[in-house]
């Protein structure tokens, strides 16, 4: 009998716990990508993650690394505190769009601007998932949510905030990229981006942030399959994918 080779398996970076995420929610994909990268770069054992408040608040149960659970929006401050004292460790925050772009705006801008050498995985699903589908800073114009039941009116609430664009206006070096995880090809690209981000940290270069366009079938009120289509047609159009900033000397 021939040997059995495994070309794909649940990464060692994830625990064997069934997540609480809704069926088809791509938070799960992003978790897996981070877990894979940490293992592939040999960083897992010296990594500490910082969980946000949001649907991924329980991320600490799913990653096979040490974890801190942050107050809403403040993960970058926790990461700063930790990383400054332990520059030898790998630190990442995992944050939703409400967490990072709304309540946590000051903390992420300042952490990025100070050039804190941690990595942020920013999950943009254009809505507040955990609290049941309220408007996020990233909610698209006209999109219906529980707190904009007649569709987001940009005359009253402004335009969606594009975080990587905003952060790339800062003068401090950083690695900033926007990716998506709604199709296999995008997932492959997303993994590369996440790997680059952690590599920046591993090499003690700079702050790195990957914005990941993600689905929230539950609060978008559609099936997982439809959600990937909606993301592709709408979210991706407003939030263009690509590398927005790269530290000097990084290919």
């Amino acid at each position: 009998m021939q040997d059995i080779n495994t070309t794909f398996a649940r990464p060692e970076g994830l625990t064997d716990v069934v997540t609480h995420y809704c069926p088809g929610c791509t938070h799960g994909v992003i978790h897996r990508l981070v877990a894979e990268v940490l293992v592939e770069l040999g960083l897992r054992e010296r990594t500490v993650g910082v969980a946000p408040v949001g649907c991924s608040v329980l991320a600490y149960n799913y990653f096979n690394t040490d974890f801190l659970e942050s107050p809403h929006g403040r993960a970058p401050a926790l990461a700063t505190g930790f990383k400054r004292l332990r520059p030898d460790m790998i630190v990442f925050t995992y944050q939703g769009d409400g967490d990072l772009a709304s309540i946590g705006m000051a903390e992420i801008v300042h952490a990025a601007n100070r050039g804190e050498k941690f990595t942020t995985i920013f999950v943009n699903n254009a809505i507040y998932g955990m609290t049941g589908g309220q408007m996020a800073p990233t909610t698209l114009p006209g999109q219906v949510t529980a707190t904009c039941p007649f569709g987001r009116d940009t005359a009253l609430t402004g335009m969606p905030i594009r975080m990587v664009e905003l952060l790339s206006s800062l003068a401090t070096p950083a690695y900033l990229e926007r990716v998506a995880v709604h199709s296999p090809a995008h997932i492959v690209r997303a993994k590369k981006a996440i790997k680059t981000a952690f590599t920046c940290q591993k090499e003690e270069r700079c702050f790195s942030l990957i914005e990941v366009l993600s689905t929230c079938p539950t609060n978008w009120g559609i099936t997982p399959g439809e959600a990937t289509q909606w993301l592709d047609a709408n979210l991706k159009a407003f939030f263009p994918l690509g590398v927005y900033k790269r530290p000097e000397g990084m290919q």
Binding site: H20, Y21, C22, C55
Partner: protein, 187 residues
């Protein structure tokens, strides 16, 4: 009756909350004191959901009921959780389409209703909750059935087609509930 408590439990999406609310509206319309309280705890996402309705002739004290007079369980985890909690002498309504066990408690009335099957057969699997609601009222008479019908019409009457299904399965549930309870009390 002084006070009657019923817990409805199942997966999120089985219409548990709505069933409880319809019952509450009915109680109110019947001139009773009512409280409806949902579970909104850690079970919320992807687990079991439940709500409790208290219907009373007197002022309702605690809305938190650990041992209700009745439990309507829509799936297996809910059966496991709530069947043991029903007050002695109480009632357990079981959605037998999804639950293939029955309690070994001898101190309560158990009524098995193939609610999901009935709903699917009637053309709308999501009407499981209405079947159970009918069965509950049939078995207990805790609110007037006429009032219930009027509430269901009021709240769900907008989509004609769906309403007709609901109306039909409500009756079916009601009949099963009434018959089984009668059997029991004669047994």
């Amino acid at each position: 009756m002084n006070q009657f408590e019923v817990t409805m439990a199942g997966f999120g999406g089985q219409g548990i909350m709505l069933a409880g609310q319809l019952l509450s509206y009915t109680g109110l319309k019947d001139g009773k004191n009512v409280v409806w309280i949902p579970s909104y705890g850690p079970e919320m996402r992807g687990g079991t959901a439940y709500c409790t309705v208290v219907i009373s002739d007197i002022r309702i004290g605690s809305p938190i009921i650990n041992t209700p007079t009745c439990a309507c369980v829509f799936n297996r985890p809910s059966f496991d959780k709530f069947a043991p909690r029903v007050k002695p002498g109480g009632l357990l309504i079981v959605n037998s389409s999804l639950i293939n066990v029955s309690t070994d408690r001898k101190d309560l009335t158990e009524i098995q209703v193939p609610a999901t099957q009935i709903a699917i057969d009637a053309g709308n699997g999501r009407a499981t909750n209405i079947v159970v609601l009918g069965a509950f009222v049939g078995a207990t008479g805790v609110v007037k059935y006429d009032t219930l019908i009027s509430v269901v019409e009021e709240k769900l009457g907008k989509k004609k087609e769906l309403f007709e299904i609901n109306r039909r399965v409500l009756d079916m549930g009601y009949k099963i509930g009434r018959e089984r309870a009668a059997q029991r009390s004669h047994a």
